[in-house]
Symmetry: none
Subunit: 225 residues, 4 copies
DNA sequence: GATGAATGAGTCTTCATTCAT
DNA sequence: TATGAATGAAGACTCATTCAT
């Protein structure tokens, strides 16, 4: 026979590969995208498996149920990001204003522009069905960020760099635009011709302007409301 | 007609309690609560019917499908609220600062503290599955509010009451805390012992402080960022 | 138009009928046959539904799960049969030997030749997976029968019609051939060219012979074993 | 051969613990227990493998399928027991009554008190799904026993030790208590507080009493039924 | 109009079996 | 030979939708 067909033993692609270590991460990645896009109930495990390139049964080797997978997706997306953030940000002795700038810019880079933004939307949307995830999110993502921001502000006030303010209210006010913009980019925006289109750079710039303006010690103390 | 049949409207007890006219609203109310709480997929029509006090089949006399009902819930919750808001707010010739205060306070009263807040959460959560609803929401709820706020600011600037600013960015920044707080109260907050607890009054006060502070014409013109 | 086609409104057979009251019984009958034939795990609900002439979903209107259906099958097959047996048998003041004959003949007519025989086989086979059913069977079927038989024997002994014996052991010995034959006819026999073929009449005759022989008061007291 | 490879058999620890020869038996033992307890369908091969201390894949090195394993369990449990029984019992020239006693006592020792009792329950329970096993059981276990018993009785009758009787019916009647008791101890009894508790010794004693009583040649010839 | 029994397509989950290692 | 990760067909169960009453 004149054909030069390769030996059948090595030419055939294996029907599947054994990738015990890599699988959990791949599954979580696939699941994350779909859960963020469609929510818990509307995500079919078939789709997750297909996207991860495995069969449906394989999912169950790593996660005991759809709910389990869902919780793992949320938990494992949050923890490493938050830890890195806490570790890296605000460790310096730079002026508090600089730290604040850094905080918001980093926040966007690390959360707003990453899957965590999708997770925020997801947790908000599913909180009615998975309250324990909402609690987890609050404890492990929201509060750490808020505390970090609060500590920067407190330091600035103590050192006279900032004027004294209502820190708790301010933190909510200042984090909100970041969080909502992140959520928006994973929900409304992909569906719509954007009404206003403010690029993130300009958005951040304006935000920092206002925040630092409000903290400026020189400014007249209080205003009649 | 010679028959002696009694007048159908009043002569005997009706076989069913209620009239055709009141039904749609009652169904929408029941559906709204459940959709907001659980999302589209996890809401069962049985539950909606039960809450509305009708049978499952009756739903189909008024809405052709679950999706239809869902869209009706979203649309009919938004439209009247927005219309009333546009009509009532900013019709006065009061100082722009006063108008602005009024805008935010009314916003909270009319949206933040009403079912619409739940709708916002719902639309954000379901945008992946119902992009046309997201578009509708953007067009009918988000943009009108944004335009209203923009018009107030523009007027203030033109009349010299406010200093000139980046209006588009500012609007996003200033609406965000309101919207996110509204969403939060329908998602994370009901599940959690609140980490920080800032009452809505204090929250609004601080917010207005910052917004008006940023618009104050007296203040130093710009800041290097 | 010259066709005489019947009016379409009345000619079409309805897609299904509403038979709320009759359904549970029909479902149980269908399930009984299949469970007895194949056991719990190997019986598919599709098959039960098909045999009952309904769709799979209809099963769940009446029984919450496969297990529920299974338990209902067992429970509701046993109770009426046993009650009728207890009520009808051994109410007479006939000679105890006559009563005894009647007991065994009725037992076969009412149990051995009815679905209950299949249930016995089924419960025995599934006892490992459904111990509470085994307990139920013991309490509601086995013990009542045993007590009835015991009471007949006790009466006969007290009245001098029977010689005294070990009642408990005897009851087991005397019920066993009946029960095992009943089980056999629902298990091994349908599969096999029967090795020995003893018709039920001859079987009962021999059985009664031995039982009454053993109870005969005239016979020599005891035998060296 | 000049290689310095160590002798494979003893020089290093084998990568796997056991040898090919012992495996099949160990697998069968593990499978027997589980099949008897749970039946065919409800027994998972995982569980069998775990109990045998091997991996699931290993099962397939010895048995081509679950069904294969099942049949092997039944077949290989029966054959040796029956063969030994046939070989040992009824080889003597003792009085027929003694032989009969021996038969029943041995039957209990060799079957009633061994795994074969579980097999009987299993085959009865699975006969609907595995009729060929039922046939096998009938041929290889039931009939041999019955023939053995029959031959003893026939001999006794021929030698005038027993009175003439309906042998076929009697055999069924006399084997039944043994078989049913054996089945019972592997099904209902483990689940229940026993209603009556007759120890096996007393049970056998009573049984032999009746059987030998019925065979007593002295007794009045027949009885009207 | 109103009901709710009946339907059946759709999804999660299990598990016997295969096969790369 | 032994392993156990991967497969995929099969089955229980759900629930939006229909329709006889």
């Amino acid at each position: 026979m004149p054909t030069t067909a390769p030996a059948p033993s090595s030419a055939r692609a294996p029907r599947w590969e054994r990738r015990k270590d890599a699988r959990p991460g791949e599954l979580l990645d696939a699941a994350l995208e779909l859960f963020v896009d469609k929510g818990f109930a509307a995500t079919r495990l078939d789709a997750v498996a297909a996207r991860a390139g495995v069969s449906k049964g394989t999912l169950y080797l790593y996660y005991a149920s759809k709910e389990d997978l869902f919780k793992a997706v949320v938990r494992q997306s949050i923890v490493p990001l938050i830890e890195a953030f806490q570790h890296d940000v605000a460790q310096s002795s730079a002026p508090s204003a600089t730290l604040l700038r850094e905080f918001f810019r980093q926040w966007w880079t690390r959360f707003g522009a990453t899957p965590l933004a999708g997770i925020a939307k997801l947790v908000v949307g599913e909180s009615g069905n998975f309250p324990e995830l909402a609690r987890f999110f609050q404890q492990e993502a929201v509060l750490p960020c808020a505390m970090l921001l609060a500590s920067i502000v407190h330091r600035g006030v103590k050192q006279g760099e900032f004027r004294p303010i209502d820190v708790e209210a301010s933190i909510q006010l200042w984090i909100s635009p970041m969080v909502l913009r992140a959520i928006w980019e994973h929900s409304i925006l992909p569906c719509c011709p954007p009404g206003f289109d403010v690029p993130i750079e300009r958005f951040l710039e304006a935000h920092l302007d206002y925040v630092l303006g409000a903290l400026e010690p020189a400014r007249g103390q209080g205003r009649t409301s």
